[in-house]
C-alpha cells in the first residue's frame, strides 16, 4: 500500500486538520467529536444543511461546506459512516432556528446513524428532516433489498438544496427541492482499478490488466459485472444507456451532465468521456443545459468514473447557478 499518510488510524483526523488550515476563511473544525462547519455557523433564520458519511470520497462532503451549500459535514472513518454523536453535534452547531436538513446517502450504516442522531436532535427540540439520496441505477431496486446507493447525485442535491436554503426557503421547501433533485438524478459508475482502504492495506478486489468493473459504488466494492476493457466511447454508452432508460430521459429534456472521476483518473480522460456523452445525448435530442466534469465524489485513488444525468427544471437551473463558495465548488462570489 503506497500512500502519503502517517499512522493509518489518524488519516481522517490529520487530513481534516489540513483541510481546516487551508480553508480557515470558509470553515472551522470541531474535533471531539469531529465535524467541519461553516465559519459563520449557525446562520440565523437559515435552514441548516448537514451531510456526512465515510471519508475517502473527498471533496465530498467537507469540500462543499460554505456559502450556498452545506453548513456542516461529518466525516466518518474511511468508508465508514460516522456515529450519531458528531452528527448530533453538527446538527446543533448549524441550527439557526429554521430547522436542519440531513442529506444522507442510502447506505444502511449512514441511514441508521443519521436516524439516531435525528432522534436525539428532535429530543433536544431541533426540527430535523432527512433526504436519502439513491441515484445509482447499477443497483436493482426492490422493496426487499437495501435499495439503490446514493452516489454522485448527492453532490447535485447538496448544491441545489444549499442554494434554496441560502435564499431563505423553509425546511419543507428545502427538503422538497432536495427530494426533487434526487428523484430526477441517475448515476452509474465503472472502475479500472480498485482502491486501498488505509487500515485494510489491501485492494478491495483485483482486476486483470484487461478487466474493469461495471456498476461500482464509491466504496471500492466490486461492481455488478466484470468485463474486458473497451474503448472509451463504448464505456460511456454502457453507463449512459441504463441511466437514460431508467428515469427515462428523452428528447427535449434539459439535463445537467456530470462526468465524475473516482479519484485516480486524469482529467484528460474525463473530458474525453464527456465528449462522447455529450454526443450521445445530442443524438437523442437531449439538451445539455449545465455540465460538471471532475473529481467531485471519489473512492480514494480508484481509477474510474461515473456519469450522472439530472433532469432540470427552471428552478433547479436557477439554484444551480446561484452563488456558491466552498473549497471544491465555487462561483458567483
Amino acid at each position: 500500500m503506497k500512500k502519503i499518510i502517517n499512522d493509518p488510524k489518524r488519516v481522517v483526523d490529520e487530513s481534516v486538520a489540513g483541510f481546516a488550515a487551508a480553508h480557515a476563511d470558509l470553515v472551522r473544525v470541531e474535533y471531539d467529536p469531529i465535524f467541519v462547519v461553516r465559519a459563520d455557523a449557525p446562520v440565523a433564520g437559515k435552514v441548516g444543511l448537514v451531510s456526512g458519511g465515510g471519508s475517502g470520497h473527498e471533496p465530498l462532503h467537507a469540500g462543499y461546506v460554505g456559502y450556498g451549500m452545506l453548513d456542516a459535514a461529518v466525516p466518518g472513518a474511511v468508508f465508514t459512516s460516522p456515529t450519531p454523536d458528531p452528527i448530533l453535534a453538527a446538527t446543533k452547531a448549524v441550527d439557526g432556528g429554521a430547522g436542519v436538513l440531513h442529506i444522507v446517502k442510502n447506505y444502511t450504516g449512514d441511514v441508521l446513524n443519521f436516524e439516531t442522531a435525528a432522534d436525539l436532535a428532535a429530543a433536544e427540540g431541533i426540527e430535523v428532516r432527512a433526504v436519502v439520496t439513491n441515484d445509482d441505477v447499477a443497483v436493482k431496486d426492490s422493496l426487499y433489498t437495501a435499495g439503490r446507493r446514493g452516489v454522485a447525485g448527492t453532490v447535485l442535491v447538496e448544491k441545489i438544496a444549499g442554494a434554496a436554503a441560502q435564499r431563505g426557503d423553509s425546511l419543507d421547501e428545502v427538503a422538497a427541492v432536495a427530494e426533487r433533485v434526487n428523484a430526477n438524478a441517475r448515476s452509474m459508475g465503472l472502475a479500472l482499478t480498485p482502491c486501498i482502504v488505509p487500515h485494510a492495506g489491501e485492494p478491495s478486489f483485483t482486476l486483470a490488466e484487461d478487466e474493469i468493473e461495471i456498476g461500482i459504488g464509491i466504496h471500492g466494492e466490486p461492481g455488478r459485472e466484470r468485463i474486458k476493457l473497451e474503448p472509451a466511447d463504448r464505456l460511456v454508452d454502457r453507463l449512459l444507456d441504463p441511466i437514460l432508460d431508467d428515469l427515462p430521459f428523452g428528447s427535449g429534456d434539459r439535463v445537467l451532465l456530470f462526468v465524475n472521476g473516482m479519484g485516480g483518473t486524469p482529467q484528460l480522460e474525463l473530458y474525453l468521456a464527456y465528449r462522447r456523452a455529450a454526443e450521445a445525448l445530442g443524438e437523442r435530442g437531449i439538451e445539455i443545459a449545465r455540465s460538471l466534469v471532475g473529481n467531485y465524489i471519489t473512492a480514494l485513488e480508484m481509477q474510474g468514473m461515473s456519469i450522472t444525468l439530472l433532469k432540470l427544471d427552471d428552478e433547479m437551473i436557477q439554484l444551480w447557478d446561484a452563488p456558491v463558495q466552498t473549497a471544491a465548488l465555487r462561483w458567483g462570489r
Binding site: 465515510g54 466518518g76 472513518a77 474511511v78 468508508f79 465508514t80 459512516s81 460516522p82 456515529t83 450519531p84 454523536d85 447506505y107 444502511t108 450504516g109 441508521l112 446513524n113 436516524e115 439516531t116 447499477a138 443497483v139 436493482k140 426487499y144 433489498t145 437495501a146 446507493r149 482502504v197 487500515h199 485494510a200 489491501e202 478491495s204 478486489f205 459504488g217 466504496h219 471500492g220 466494492e221 466490486p222 461492481g223 455488478r224
Partner: protein
C-alpha cells in the same frame, strides 16, 4: 448456576480479544462483498469498551455491562454494524433488567431481545445474508435449550454453535440487505462478515460461561 457480573465483564474482554484476533479475517470477508471495514470498526469499538469496564460502579449488573457496551459501540463503531450491534446490546440490557444473575431462560431472553432489536432496526429477514442469519438460529437453539431446563452455560453453548453454523450457511446466499446486496448474484459464495462476527461474539459469551463455571 446463573451468570453474573463477572461473566459479563469476562464476555466483553473475550469479545475484544476475539475481534482483535480475527480483525484481519473480518476485514477480508468484508472486502470480498462489502467495503473492507467490518473488522476495523468492531475492533475500534471493543477496544473503546475495555477501559470503561474499570469504571463500572460497585454493584453493577450484567445489564449495566451490556448497556455500557451498547452506548460505546453506538458512539465509536459507525457503519451498519455500529447501530445494529448497539441496538442488540441495548435491547439485551433491557431484557436483563437489574438481575444480578442470569439463568438459562434469562440468557435466552437476552439473546431474543438482542436479535429482535437487530431485526427492528435493520429490517432484514432470515436468508438476507446478514448477521440475522447467525442470530436467529442462535436464538432458536437457546430457546430450545432453555425450554428443556438447561443452564445458562449450556444455553450459550447451543447459541454459539448455532450461530457458527448460521454464519457458515450464509455462504451460498445472495444478499438482499447491506452492502453485499449491491453485488447481486456475485455476493453468493462468500460468508457474511457480520454473521461471522456475531458467531465470534456468541462463542466468546459461551467461553466466558465455561470459565465462570470453572470458578
Amino acid at each position: 448456576m446463573g451468570l453474573d457480573i463477572t461473566w459479563a465483564v469476562d464476555w466483553v474482554r473475550r469479545s475484544a480479544e476475539t475481534v482483535a484476533e480475527h480483525r484481519t479475517r473480518l476485514i477480508a470477508l468484508d472486502r470480498e462483498i462489502g467495503d473492507g471495514d467490518h473488522g476495523e470498526n468492531l475492533d475500534r469499538g471493543f477496544q473503546a469498551v475495555l477501559p470503561k469496564l474499570d469504571d463500572l460502579a460497585a454493584g453493577s449488573t450484567p445489564g449495566d455491562v451490556l448497556k455500557l457496551v451498547a452506548t460505546t459501540l453506538i458512539s465509536t463503531v459507525g457503519g451498519a454494524a455500529g447501530p445494529l450491534y448497539g441496538t442488540a446490546y441495548l435491547k439485551g440490557a433491557m431484557a436483563a433488567g437489574s438481575a444480578t444473575s442470569l439463568d438459562g431462560p434469562a440468557i435466552a431472553a437476552v439473546l431474543t431481545a438482542a436479535r429482535d432489536g437487530i431485526v427492528a432496526r435493520g429490517k432484514a429477514e432470515s436468508g438476507d445474508k446478514t448477521m440475522v442469519d447467525a442470530w436467529t438460529p442462535a436464538v432458536e437453539a437457546a430457546d430450545a435449550e432453555a425450554a428443556s431446563g438447561a443452564d445458562a452455560r449450556t444455553v450459550l453453548e447451543a447459541a454459539a454453535s448455532a450461530a457458527e453454523a448460521g454464519a457458515e450457511a450464509t455462504e451460498p446466499l445472495v444478499a438482499r440487505k447491506g452492502r453485499a446486496s449491491y453485488l447481486g448474484e456475485r455476493s453468493a459464495g462468500h460468508r457474511d462478515p457480520g454473521a461471522e462476527s456475531s458467531a465470534l461474539l456468541l462463542r466468546a459469551a459461551a467461553d466466558a460461561a465455561v470459565a465462570a463455571a470453572g470458578d
